[in-house]
């Protein structure tokens, strides 16, 4: 596998140096791996900190800025960051109004953020945590690690971020983050496996003519493999899988997300099919976002995330946001 890298060991640091050069609005601490909006801490504002393995760009560093995250902690590729990073991030963004940790439901992310929350609280920072677990491909039970956090992370970060920007207190920002997570569901498919820099070759074997249904964002295989389907068939499968679980009674936000290796030409075509199924199922779409937002390195494929919204959430969605990857209204 050919990759535009120097050596696997420096991939994350190299990317952070490049990010710093491209986005002067961000303060990028390469040595400690913390990306912070440059004007932090903002007086009276709740800080939002997220993070997770690298390889999901623009998640999370690309969502740091006014109206969204206050700071992001990138870990090694597909590996959660370490508590030290989150403690530094929390200290950098806390104005005294407290900090919300937005954590995707993966064992490593959960453990490291839990440890970080304890340490940050020892340093006098008030910390709340919200777990994102939107992936309907995982059958949740007491005997699994629970549903994965995937595309809904973007919705949680945007909507809770907008609330924080408006000056909402920590309990309110946390409540909105929880509401958004509980109102969101996702389903993903892969057309190719992912190649991590550490391994240098595809992490699993996915032959031509087959696809994986129900994948996450870490290059792990999905819940089922089938013969390759058309965009129309994939949209039917994915949207129906989401609607089996979500059953929206009002308008939704739709995220048609690329996994990193699928061009926009295909994603827009897929979105046409997603909108068709939603129309057939009587679901009204309030806003749609199409692009590569919660990715899995070079994996070809896509995911669909729906979030049921009320007027308040829709207003927060439309509120101004100014980050490297999401930017509107100002």
């Amino acid at each position: 596998m050919k990759m535009l890298i120097n050596v696997p060991e420096t991939v994350v640091d190299d990317a952070l140096r490049g990010m710093a050069a491209a986005h002067p609005d961000l303060a990028v601490d390469v040595a400690n791996r913390v990306v912070v909006r440059r004007d932090a801490p903002v007086a009276g504002k709740v800080g939002l900190v997220s993070g997770g393995g690298s390889g999901h760009e623009p998640l999370h560093g690309g969502f740091v800025g006014p109206g969204m995250l206050s700071a992001a902690c990138p870990g090694e590729v597909f590996t959660s960051p370490v508590p030290d990073q989150m403690v530094r991030a929390a200290a950098a963004v806390d104005s005294g109004a407290g900090v919300l940790f937005i954590v995707k439901n993966y064992t490593g992310d959960v453990l490291n953020f839990d440890m970080a929350a304890e340490l940050a609280e020892d340093e006098g920072v008030q910390v709340a945590k919200v777990l994102v677990n939107d992936d309907v491909a995982v059958t949740d039970s007491l005997f699994t690690a629970g549903r994965r956090g995937t595309g809904a992370t973007l919705f949680v970060e945007k909507l809770a971020g907008a609330a924080a920007e408006e000056g909402a207190p920590l309990e309110r920002v946390e409540a909105i983050a929880r509401q958004v997570n509980e109102s969101s569901r996702s389903f993903g498919v892969a057309l190719t496996a992912v190649s991590t820099p550490a391994k240098g070759s595809p992490t699993f074997d996915l032959p031509q003519g087959e696809l994986e249904l129900g994948i996450g964002i870490h290059g792990e295989p999905g819940r089922e493999r089938r013969a390759m389907m058309t965009s129309r068939e994939i949209a039917d499968f994915a949207v129906n899988a989401v609607l089996e679980d979500l059953k929206p009674t009002g308008p939704v936000l739709a995220l048609v997300n690329g996994m990193g290796g699928t061009p926009l030409l295909e994603l827009y075509g897929f979105n046409a099919e997603v909108q068709r199924v939603l129309g057939e199922r009587g679901v009204s779409v309030a806003r749609t976002l199409v692009g590569n937002y919660v990715t899995s390195l070079d994996m070809a494929g896509c995911s669909v995330t729906l979030c049921q919204v009320d007027e308040d959430l829709l207003r927060l969605w439309d509120a101004p946001v100014q980050t490297p990857a999401l930017r509107w209204g100002r």
Binding site: P8, G53, G75, E76, V77, F78, T79, S80, P81, V82, P83, D84, Y106, T107, G108, L111, N112, M115, A137, V138, T139, F143, T144, A145, R148, T196, A198, K199, T203, F204, G216, H218, G219, E220, P221, R223
Partner: protein
């Protein structure tokens, strides 16, 4: 002790040798661990532990903790600060809690070590919410603790057998659990690396003879 060899002195130097021997084993087996992880996880277990244990080696070269407990807690903190993922907090907790249970003695007995490692393993089970049979590092660690009462060699064998026994299991914790039945048929990378840690006890003992 049924061991034919006399027990080495379990002092700070022994625990330092244990961790450095583990680091060497991780270095040697990193590719294999990553390969196992690519079957049911995300293909980075080897490189993550390598990063952590290189940091442990570096800090042990710089600092000289005086007691077994201090060696283990220093190393555990280093793993938590450098590994990330699930294995950072889990291995970090294993070493820190084992260290804590050893007390402040400059030398500990074999029985104290066995008991302390049991406390460390219990802390890992609690943190990860896992139990034996879930296809995790506990499947190697729990039998190792039981066998450690006999000898280091027995513990190493028990850990190795425990790791091998994860092959037919279905994962219920961690990233492999997302594969459901598809996780069956692959050895768990965490149980495999845990067996390396236990085997390194024997290496550290031999080096003292």
């Amino acid at each position: 002790m049924p061991d034919q060899e006399p027990d080495p002195t379990l002092d700070a130097a022994f625990f330092r040798r244990w961790l450095i021997a583990t680091a060497a084993a991780v270095e040697r087996e990193a590719d294999r661990l990553t390969e196992l992880d690519s079957a049911i996880g995300d293909a980075d277990h080897g490189s993550n532990l390598q990063r952590g244990f290189r940091a442990v080696t570096a800090v042990l070269e710089k600092e000289s903790p005086a007691t077994p407990a201090a060696v283990l807690t220093l190393a555990g903190r280093q793993l938590i600060s450098t590994v990330g993922g699930a294995s950072g907090p889990l291995y970090g907790t294993l070493l820190r809690r084992t260290g804590k249970a050893l007390g402040d003695e400059p030398e500990v007995s074999h029985a104290t070590l066995a008991e302390a490692l049991g406390a460390g393993v219990a802390a890992v089970a609690q943190l990860g919410g896992a139990k034996a049979g879930d296809k995790t590092m506990l499947d190697a660690l729990e039998p190792a603790v039981t066998a450690l009462g006999t000898s280091f060699g027995a513990a190493a064998e028990a850990a190795e057998a425990g790791a091998a026994a994860t092959v037919p299991m279905q994962a219920h914790k961690g990233r492999a659990s997302y594969l459901g039945e598809r996780s069956i048929g692959h050895q768990d990378p965490g149980a495999t690396s845990a067996a390396l840690l236990i085997a390194a006890l024997g290496t550290a003992a031999e080096e003292s003879r």
